[in-house]
């Protein structure tokens, strides 16, 4: 495939995305006199189409920028450069009404199902407030119906859930109420930031299955932020692997996890503790032990077991190693450089093969 062809395919998918993070970067500054800059996110472009509904995983370790990306998309973090565009309008420039619509249609599920609740209120508070603020119901009984239906949708019994304080529910119940809250608002997109990492294993599956059902049956697109590649594999269609704020590798989740090309993804995949005593961890190690070095080239150089001399010279571009795969590594320098900035251009349309 030539570059020209790639560009054309890019054009096709770029017909009015619902939500687009357009080359967003975020740099955090600390220090008063001598500034210290931390580049948490570095020119990432990603869009979510109006249809079909998709599930995209954004994976990486702590410090990879995955949470910063999620918070930027949600409008909680203002990008240092670039813009978040929703229905054609920059979120930063939205009118009050547009912003309210954005807040309703792009919903969130946070990692900590306990912290998501104001300890002062019963769980009802978090379900009834949005009904009131977004005028979802014209009467008290209609509001009750909406709340109860949402709870049933996520597999909770309203009578066992309502009227309780958050600490009276289990972690799994709490997180399911948060899913119910998000779903109740009939959003277009849910950004789920590590939604199951603090939930017990036996309850984890149920929540993931709920998310999947929301995508399949209600048509909500999901951005699944995670450090756990196994749940990403189970839930998502496509995956973006971030390292130090940059896209290291991206593509369909099956191919990326079963055949990782970037040394960082390889390291992540080989570190998965498989729940199978016959599949033991290998002994491969990183090049260096957690010591960071500032070099001009690839930002993974200091940990890369496969590093080469050219890696220190400049940062590698993204190479298109397969129709639905890109990787930021010089070992694939013979592949064409992927030019379209939007990661959406990498992903195959759902059911398109």
């Amino acid at each position: 495939m030539t570059t020209a062809q790639l560009d054309r395919s890019t054009q096709e998918v770029e017909n009015e995305p619902l939500l687009q993070a357009d080359s967003v970067s975020k740099t955090f500054v600390s220090g008063t006199f001598r500034k210290h800059y931390t580049r948490a996110l570095d020119t990432v472009t990603l869009s979510v189409p109006e249809s079909p509904p998709t599930i995209t995983a954004i994976a990486g370790e702590s410090g990879s920028g995955k949470t910063t990306l999620a918070r930027t998309v949600l409008g909680l973090v203002e990008p240092t450069s670039g813009a978040v565009i929703y229905r054609g309008t920059n979120v930063a420039d939205m009118s009050r009404a547009q912003h309210a619509e954005f807040r309703r249609e792009v919903q969130v599920i946070f990692q900590d199902p306990f912290e998501s609740y104001n300890p002062f209120y019963k769980v009802d508070h978090v379900l009834r407030t949005p009904i009131r603020r977004y005028n979802l119901a014209s009467s008290k009984s209609e509001a009750d119906d909406i709340v109860e239906e949402a709870l049933r949708t996520v597999g909770l019994r309203p009578e066992e859930t309502l009227g309780r304080h958050p600490h009276q529910l289990s972690g799994g119940q709490r997180q399911r109420v948060m899913v119910a809250r998000a779903v109740m608002l009939k959003p277009k997109i849910i950004v789920a930031d590590e939604p199951v990492s603090m939930v017990d294993a036996s309850l984890r599956a149920t929540i993931l299955e709920t998310l999947r059902a929301m995508n399949r049956d209600v048509g909500i697109s999901i951005l699944y932020i995670t450090h756990d590649l196994t749940t990403a594999y189970q839930l998502a269609e496509n995956i973006i692997v971030l390292y130090k704020g940059r896209v290291a590798e991206s593509g369909s989740v099956d191919s990326v996890i079963n055949d990782p090309t970037h040394p960082y993804t390889q390291l992540l995949v080989s570190s998965i503790p498989q729940p199978d005593p016959e599949t033991q961890w290998g002994r491969e190690q990183e090049a260096r032990d957690e010591e960071e070095a500032e070099i001009a080239g690839c930002n993974f150089y200091d940990r890369c077991p496969l590093r080469m001399d050219e890696c220190t010279v400049s940062d590698p571009p993204l190479y298109r190693t397969a129709p639905n795969r890109i990787t930021r590594c010089y070992r694939y320098a013979e592949s064409p450089v992927h030019l379209a900035p939007d990661l959406r251009s990498v992903f195959a349309p759902v059911g398109g093969d």
Partner: protein
């Protein structure tokens, strides 16, 4: 698991009961747990929140605090019951006979002391007398054995990454060659790559010094990678215990079976199924089998009688009414 071997086992826990005394009554966090730890083996104790696994870790170290009390049973460490010890004996046993790799390593080290001093003070308080040079060598040797550069000795904790701090904790734990290492969710705050390194390090040093290890956690994947034997905890009891391959490939207890089938992997996409219902209240545990409220195979008897532990096959024990005398004899662990 016969009593004859008990003499040679570094740790034998029998019918251990640890209750938390609350205003509402006793919470039976650990309710009759028995297991034996063989020399050089790695036991994984798996359980979800509220299963009592961390309480066991504290009890083994005799570091449980009010309102927790050991209500019964015995903890026989290297042949003598720890519960009979006075506090000074308990203190001396820590580190030298049984050592802990703590959870949440991010704050486990004293922020105002250099790493070297935090390794040495444990030795000093166990009457190890060495010259300063010998202490320095010992510290370097310990850091080496957990894959850290010896320069780390002169650093402060905040200068180390999470993984490095946890390695320091491991170095401290093996500083007196204990016969038992207890690791309570040793990788809970760490990234997946670092998690692997830390667990492998723990495994390496455990094999090198020939200690037995107990790892406590909720991550079945981590257990599969680390343990040679796994005990499944539920509601303060061990419901099934056996060699790791048996547990994963042929689980006997319905809870184990459901737990394993709920685990996502990266081999095939499938419908994810969790375990319906919620963990039991340990304040008012259900009568009979503690799992019967969530068990898909529950029978009438399950809500009436506490199932006995049976030896289902070699070295595998489970407590479930699905198994009768034909499947295995009742044992007193």
């Amino acid at each position: 698991m016969t009593t004859a071997t008990a003499v040679h086992s570094p740790l034998v826990v029998k019918d251990l009961k640890v209750y938390y005394y609350t205003r509402r009554g006793p919470v039976k966090a650990v309710d009759g747990v028995s297991f034996e730890l063989h020399r050089g083996e790695r036991l994984g104790l798996v359980g979800e929140s509220g299963s009592g696994k961390s309480t066991i870790a504290l009890a083994l170290m005799m570091a449980h605090k009010e309102p927790a009390r050991i209500e019964g049973g015995s903890i026989v460490l290297n042949g003598s019951n720890v519960l009979d010890d006075n506090s000074e004996q308990v203190r001396l046993r820590r580190l030298s006979e049984i050592a802990m790799v703590p959870q949440g390593a991010l704050n486990s080290l004293n922020p105002v002391m250099r790493i070297r001093d935090q390794v040495i003070d444990g030795l000093k308080d166990h009457n190890v007398s060495m010259s300063d040079g010998e202490f320095a060598n010992r510290v370097a040797e310990l850091l080496d054995s957990v894959g850290l550069h010896r320069d780390v000795a002169s650093r402060f904790p905040h200068e180390l990454s999470g993984g490095m701090k946890q390695r320091v904790s491991i170095a401290i734990a093996i500083s007196m060659n204990p016969s038992v290492i207890v690791a309570d969710e040793p990788t809970s705050a760490l990234d997946v790559v670092v998690q692997k390194q830390v667990v492998q390090t723990l495994r390496d040093v455990q094999e090198r010094i020939g200690a037995a290890a107990i790892m406590i956690g909720h991550d079945m994947g981590l257990m599969a990678q680390f343990a040679s034997r796994i005990g499944i905890m539920y509601g303060g009891k061990i419901v099934e215990i056996g060699p790791v391959s048996h547990i994963f490939n042929n689980p006997k207890h319905p809870y184990t079976r459901l737990l394993i089938s709920s685990l996502p992997d990266t081999r095939s996409k499938r419908r994810l199924e969790g375990i319906p219902g919620l963990p039991p209240s340990l304040l008012r545990p259900p009568p009979g089998c503690i799992f019967h409220t969530r068990c898909p195979d529950a029978m009438d008897i399950c809500s009436q009688e506490i199932p006995a532990t049976r030896e289902i096959d070699a070295l595998r024990y489970a407590a479930c009414h699905l198994y009768g005398d034909d499947d295995g004899k009742v044992v007193d662990l």
